[in-house]
Structures are given as C-alpha cells and as structure tokens.
C-alpha cells in the first residue's frame, strides 16, 4: 500500500504574458505554480484545495505533463516525465488520466458515448478487435453506473452527472494508476455531487487508484481525501493528514477556508463568524513579498512581509508554510 508512485519536487510553472504595445510589449511573468513539492502513494487520495487563481488547475496539468514546468520535476514511478521522449511519454499516459470540471465540455458533442470512451483504447491498441472494444466500453460504463445499452447516445442526451460519469469511464478504460480529478463536482448540483464523490471513492478502493482530487472548497474533499494540500497563489500553504487538518489546521489560510464553508444548520450558521480574511486575493501577476498570504492574514507579523516561509515538516508529520505554525493554535471550535 505504501509504495510511492508520484513524487513532485519543487515544481514551478511560469507563464510569460505580453501586454499592449506592438513595438515594445511589456512581458509579465505569471507564477501559476511556484515551487510545489509532494509525494503520493499507491491507493492514496490527495485533495488539493484553493480559490480560483491559486494554480491548482495548472498544477493538475503539469502533473500529467500536459504543460512543461519551468522548474522542478515530476517523477512517476521514479522517472522524470519531462525527460522522456515523446513516444515514451505517450506510453506513460496509459497510467495517467484526468477528469475535468465541466462534464459536457469535456466530451466531443459529435461523438457517441462508445467512441468517446473507446478513444483511448484505439489510441493505445490500434489493432484491437471491435468486439473487444465494445465489451470493454460496456464493462466500464457499468462500473461507473451508466446503462451499457446507451452506448450509441450522444453527450447532449445525458444530464450533467451522467456526463461526468462518461468522463470518468473514459479515464478508467485503460486501467490507469493515477487519476487527476480537476474539480470534478463543482459544476454539478449538490445532490449529484455526492453521487460522484461516492463513486470515485468506491472506484478508488476497488481499483487501488491513486487520486489527486482538486476542489475549491474544503467540504468536498473531506470525504474522499487521505491528505489535503491547501494552495494559495501558486504555493502550497499546508499539506496535512485529513484528520489533523479539519480539527487543527496549521495555517491561518486553511482555518479561514474551513470557516468559510457554510454549515447547513440554522443555529450554528447564525453563530458563524466571518472568515477573518481582509480584502481580495491579490493579482497573481504581482504577488505580495514575503509570505504571499500576509496581505490578507489576520495574524501576520512583520517577519511575514520580509521572509518567505518554507514548507516545513511539523512534529506530527504534517507540512506547513507559516512562520507562526508552532505558536498558533487554530483548533476549530466545535466538531459535531
């Protein structure tokens, strides 16, 4: 169980943006992901949480070598994905799959469900027999909770939740080892979100998948993650074991995110305080000096403005990037 499959070391993705002026355009550097490191074991789920613009989607794509990193390495079973030649990388893609946020946009509207799910099969096994493809497609459809007799339908004939199941089926058809889910439930109704989360959880156990599950809110990843990473402006603020993170977060940003989740209980909700955050997220084009979070942090000190806090390992094995991680006690008030 504890075999390490994915290792990310100091990963950074910077984009060069050109602005205005044909003659002398200004170039800005957008540090979408800036020095993120973590490990992932076989059969483990890492939740990645952050607000829009924190670089979580870019990170997802960099993990799958869909974007070239500016710095750092992504090691899949010990091999650096970005050092492989094109053919070798293509072979590796069998193990690495992705599920997208917008379930309908992720499916080609002009292809039948069969063709959509079978595309990876045709790509990797061009000589495979039609019957075999059909059998496999129906098997995967059944596994994700779709009726196998709907193979000839088109995406627009399904609801959002069903489309997401089709997307999951396509990701699973090659028996991958790692599936990166980029906000797979944020476009769905709450009642359907729970279906998809439960489905992914079951599939993970059944197939011993490693999952990277990205969300913009801590409540969604709680039920599925073993560990959670909180990102802010391209950096990891905290990587903690789930049980620790929700009870006693180490980083003030994590604690704000926890407070921001609405409680579906009228009495508790009326007591709920504000998140304590001041202002909006700064532009990623000009992040604050020192700790990128200091401009909104309710407990920042002068040191935070000057010195970038490193992601440090705490006594209990969790990681936090905060100068005051040891001294702060951010224990969450009530637990159910």
């Amino acid at each position: 169980m504890n075999e390490r499959v994915l290792r990310v070391q100091d990963l950074a993705v910077h984009f060069k943006l050109r602005e205005g002026g044909l003659i002398r355009p200004k170039t800005h550097t957008l540090k979408a992901v800036d020095g993120v490191s973590f490990d992932l074991n076989a059969g483990e789920t890492l939740g990645i949480v952050g607000e829009s613009g924190c670089g979580k989607s870019t990170l997802a794509r960099a993990l799958l070598a869909l974007i070239k990193p500016t710095r750092g390495r992504v090691l899949w079973l010990g091999e650096d994905l970005n050092k492989l030649d094109e053919e070798a990388l293509r072979k590796k893609r069998q193990d690495l799959q992705i599920v997208f946020q917008d379930p309908l946009a992720a499916l080609n509207p002009r292809m039948t469900v069969r063709d959509i799910i079978a595309e990876p099969l045709w790509t990797f096994f061009p000589k495979i027999a039609r019957v075999q493809v059909d059998e496999r497609v129906r098997g995967v459809m059944k596994m994700v909770g779709l009726l196998p007799n709907q193979v000839n339908r088109y995406p627009h004939e399904f609801s959002g939740g069903q489309c997401q199941r089709i997307g999951i089926a396509r990701a699973l058809v090659l028996n991958p080892k790692l599936v990166v889910c980029d906000e797979p439930v944020s476009a769905l109704d709450v009642s359907i979100q729970a279906q998809i989360i439960n489905l992914l959880k079951d599939l993970q156990k059944k197939l011993n998948l490693s999952l990277v599950f990205i969300a913009h809110d801590l409540s969604v990843v709680k039920h599925i993650s073993d560990r959670v990473m909180v990102m802010y402006l391209g950096r990891a603020m905290e990587i903690s074991c789930r049980d620790h993170l929700y009870r006693r977060p180490l980083h003030p940003y994590t604690s704000a995110l926890i407070k921001a989740v609405p409680v579906p209980d009228p009495k508790l909700a009326r007591l709920a305080s504000d998140t304590g955050l001041t202002g909006d997220m700064p532009s990623p084009l000009s992040p604050p000096s020192g700790c990128v979070f200091h401009s909104r942090c309710p407990v920042s000190i002068t040191r935070c403005e000057l010195e970038v806090p490193a992601l440090r390992r705490m006594e209990n094995g969790d990681w936090a990037a905060c100068h005051r991680a040891e001294e702060l006690d951010l224990t969450i008030g009530k637990t159910g």
Binding site: I197, V261, P266
Partner: protein, 320 residues
C-alpha cells in the same frame, strides 16, 4: 397585506419536443423583511419561477396565475409598467455577474443611470450615492473603482458590484438567483453576510434561489423546496433542517458535505438524475428516485399542512 403573493403560478414552454411544464401550481407569499429560499436541483423550476414573476421568460414561455406585488398583479402588467417596478422596487441578482453588466460601459455609467431613472436625483447626487453603495459592499477605493469597466474587476468584485447595483434603489424585494455559486468560498461568505446585513438595515425582503441547502441556513428564515416544477415542502428553516418531512428534502440535506460531522461520515447521495421535464413519472414526480416510494405514490400526493405552517406533499411525510 403581504409584499408578494404568488398564487397558482404555472409556467410552460413550447419546445420542439412538446410542451414543458416548468412550474406547476406554485403558491407562496412573502412579507416585508422576509427571506425566503427556493431550493431545488437544475430542472426544478426555481429559476423559471422568478423569471416569470419578473417578466423575463424566454420567448417560447407562457405563464398564468397571479403574482400580487403590493396589491398589483405583476403578471398582468405591460413591459413599461413592469419597468417602473423592476430595478427600483424589485431588484434581481443573477448567477453570472458578467452577463448582467454591460462590458462597454463603466460601472459609474451603469449605476448612475439606474438611480437617475428611478429616483430622479441629479448626476452628482447619483454618483455620490453609487460610491457610497460600493463602499457598503467593501469595494476598495470606490471613488476610483467606479470609473473602471467590468472586465477590470475580479469575479468576486464583480458580484459585489452587482449586489451594490441591486441595492442601489433600496428595493423592497431582492431576488438573488444563485448569487454565490460561481464564487470562491471566502467571497461567498462575504456576499452572504452582506445580504443579511442589508436586509436588517433596510427591511428588504429577499428571495434566494439555490441548489445548496448549506448556504441557506444562515441567511433565510423560510425555505420552499421545489422538485420538477412543484413545491414539495415549505416551512421555516428550523422545520426544514431539523424536521424535514419530504424524502427529497431529507436527501438534499444528507448530500451536503458537512465539516461539522466526523470525517468518515458517509455522504448520502440522492440516486438518479435531476428530473427530465419531458418524461416524468405519473403521480409523485420524485417517485422513481425516492428510497421510500411505495404503491400509493402512483397517485399525486396532496399538500398537507401541519401546525406551524409546515407544508409538505408526500404520503409518507409524517410517518417517519
């Protein structure tokens, strides 16, 4: 007299596949200062309900019933009559802030236009009022921000501008259609706080439309749960959250991921898919997704009202 009273509201659409009944015989009322949440999945008719009230239905839609606003029926009004109410007495906040702002006009132009039109202030007064409103929604440096264009704001800021515009004329009724769904959680809490503060300050009534029972709890005092165009349960937040009668409401509550419960609690999803209005089952429309369905459900269950105005429509309801 209640501020808004909706009686027997029906909304239908003509589509190539046949007529779709988006809302069926909906009744609810709202007093000044009330906050009502209309909760339901996509396809439940919650958005079409308020679109009909606001006279904003798509061209192939038709509506009948009554929507009495301050004693006058909104559904019988001509567009020009409606326009007198829309924006001044009734304001609406949409889910996507970009669609309700004109990208080619500065925030100032768009805000001032509304004030001058409805309140007859002069330009300088209108501007001062708009700046004040932006300050109230915590837009930093409002004097400078007001001259900017919509694309210069972030998503959360834009939604705040929309809220500010909605409240500009101190409406008696604010309708918010999924105002926070597209926003980050930290911004979401902020907008919720903002709306409840403004409700207390100006005694405006609020209709909040959402698919997420989580955001309702702190903000509203009554909840109307809709499924496939029909009201299935209606009551105070306490009744709905602590004593849900309809299996659909129970399902919605159980599917919200909660941080105030232990980590390994199982999430209970509602099985099946949101209702397809073109192929609904006979009788109770929730029947084919309902864990408690039994033979009687093939007939349409009547609306039952318990003490405390807690209404639900399910044969199983009280007998838990």
């Amino acid at each position: 007299m209640s501020l808004l009273e909706v009686k027997g509201l029906n909304v239908g659409f003509d589509t190539p596949e046949g007529e779709v009944h988006a809302v069926n015989n909906l009744n609810f009322s709202l007093n000044a200062g009330d906050a009502l949440a209309i909760v339901g999945e996509s396809g439940s008719g919650k958005t079409q309900t308020v679109m009909a009230i606001m006279g904003l239905l798509a061209e192939n839609g038709h509506v009948n019933g009554q929507a009495m606003f301050k004693g006058k029926d909104l559904l019988q009004m001509s567009t020009s009559e409606l326009n007198k109410h829309r924006g001044s007495e009734i304001a609406m906040i949409f889910q996507d802030p970009m669609t309700s702002l004109n990208p080619y006009l500065s925030i100032e132009k768009q805000m001032i236009e509304v004030v001058i039109h409805h309140q007859g202030l002069n330009k300088a007064e209108a501007r001062a009022h708009a700046v004040e409103m932006l300050r109230a929604v915590r837009i930093p440096d409002p004097e400078r921000s007001i001259r900017q264009y919509p694309h210069e704001f972030s998503g959360g800021m834009r939604q705040r501008v929309i809220v500010a515009m909605g409240l500009l004329c101190e409406p008696d009724l604010l309708i918010a259609d999924e105002p926070t769904t597209a926003l980050d959680v930290t911004v979401q809490t902020h907008i919720s706080h903002l709306m409840s503060a403004l409700r207390q300050n100006s005694n405006a009534a609020i209709i909040l439309i959402t698919h997420d029972l989580g955001v309702v709890a702190g903000l509203c005092d009554r909840v109307l749960v809709m499924y496939a165009g029909e009201a299935v349960e209606c009551g105070t937040v306490e009744q709905i959250y602590y004593d849900p009668k309809h299996p659909y409401t129970q399902g919605l509550l159980n599917s919200v991921p909660r941080l105030d419960r232990p980590e390994d609690t199982e999430l209970h999803a509602i099985p099946g898919n949101p209702p397809n209005l073109l192929s609904l089952p006979e009788g109770c429309k929730f029947r084919d997704r309902c864990p408690k369905a039994y033979a009687a459900c093939t007939e349409t269950p009547p609306m039952q009202i318990d003490e405390g105005q807690h209404a639900h429509c399910c044969f199983r309801g009280a007998s838990e």
